[in-house]
Amino acid sequence: MPVPTDVVRISDTVWEIPVSHKPGMLVPARIFATEKLLSDFDDGVFEQITNVATLPGIVGHACCMPDGHWGYGFPIGGLAAMDPDRGVISPGGIGFDINCGMRLCLTNLGYEEVKPRLRSLVDRIAGRVPAGVGVEGTVRASRDDFREAVEQGARWAVKRGYGWKEDLERTEEEGCLPGADASRVSEKAIDRGYRQIGTLGSGNHYLEIQVAKVENVFDRETAGAFGIVLPDQVVVMFHCGSRGFGHQVATDHLRVFLAAMRAKYRIHVPDRELACAPFLSPEGQDYFAAMKCAVNMSFVNRQVILHRIREVFSEIFGKDPKDLGMRQVYDVAHNTAKIERHVFEGKPRELLVHRKGATRAFGPGMPGLPEVYRKTGQPVILGGSMETGSYLLAGVDTGDRTFFTTAHGSGRAMSRTAARKRYRGRQLQEQMEERGIYVRTASWSGLAEEAGPAYKNIDDVVEATERAGLSRRVVRLLPMGNVKG
């Protein structure tokens, strides 16, 4: 795909598109990628990240991560920090699946102990964590319970026995964005959400049993601090979001923003999916309070799923989850907008940071990190394709160039339809099983869509984040068993 001719090479992993690239750009766009990844980017990325650079109040650069690809309005992998006083908030900068994210849980089991029970584990988890179209969750909650849940976040689940108190410390924002206000959420969103707590979803959402092979530990000391201490230690990683609830919140406000943006605020954006409103306007604040509910719903969802995973391991191995060492490493969000404090142009500033398909990666010593990770930097969980593997990274000091943000996964390289034509779900399952990966799916065609080659090479993405100074490698994790949504 053609890279715009006016791209300036800042370093071997940082590329800048100047404000002269298109009318209306307020800041330059920066793409963090190796030359190879850059040349493989789809055209949409360049178009979209330069559109983002036109949004009122944007500061620094409109950034795109190495796993970037075309999205709605913003590219996936997009980052935009706004001045909250004069800038906008845009649902397109957060994504429909608000607080889609990753969670990683340890075990003290080795590969050889888990291998003989892998099939039972995967089958039983698939039964306990519903996935696919129109499924209901395993937590009974009334509409009012649900309103409480979305205001309180993961704490709501832990109070009801779904998880441990320490899980909260090991979750971004401690599993709850304060200021979530359920009265700003439509009844339709509540209707879509209240029976979905504890569900995985579909598409690229999954739950994976993985192994940290000795040769894939890049930094033994940090890995140890993150809890990976045994040879061939087994861990569980999963990827899901706020389900129908978050999507309805995004849709409701997209509609409001679209109407208010032109008529009331006279803001013109190059793409309707970039619909936005001034952050401090009534529309902006309504969305922000509702979006926080969706962020919290997602933390609740992942908290309940973690609990189900612990239940299943406990049943299969006949031991308490605590005796199985099933501590949570961390939970990261990759579709959010948050007010954060950053040093910008030499001064500490509050900024509204939009991350869409991009992960917060706080460096060592930063406030907001739990004591246990104060020295190492924040654990960052990057999900790869179900065939190739995933990563556990750490935030670094040099992350300030992206407001401490890094990639979120491998990023798609092939369309779903193209993948479905090229691969067959059943065949793929057999091939993966031959390679020792047992996969369960809610949909055969859905499985085909997630075939490894449909994604960018995760090793390339991670290498680019490390060379660009956004995060560093700690452990590469290989899939053993997968429940695909």
Binding site: G44, Y72, V133, G203, H247, Q248, T251, R412, M414
Partner: protein, 145 residues
Amino acid sequence: MTSPYRYLEEIATADVAFEAWGATPEDTFLAAVDATLNTMVEDIGTVAPLERRVFSLAADSLDLLLFELLQELVYHKDAERLLLRIRDLRIEETGSGYCLHAEAIGETIDPGRHPLLADVKAVTLHRLVVERTPDGWHTIVVLDV
């Protein structure tokens, strides 16, 4: 008869895009509804007409009216676990735009009888268009799955 819609490969890398067509805006909307349902269910003929819902929707433009209609289907899929097709649909011009009255029929999701595919979670505005062509009407829709 071939279905009056087809899926497009190169528009939405991570999601699903389709185009649909018909002689009138109403026919085109019906085709778009079936294309959306077909994104979730392999054989839409398996969805029996057991439940009925009535929609009255309004929007400033035809493309946003289609957005509202498809969004209703997504809503009922999650809120009531209903898979719906449209039996009867009427579009009228109003002073400020368009309104639509539709009767939807369908049934509760039953994975045993409905071979399920992807879960449509939102309708997007990306490249959304409803336009007149020399042969009738045409739309492009991108769904978030």
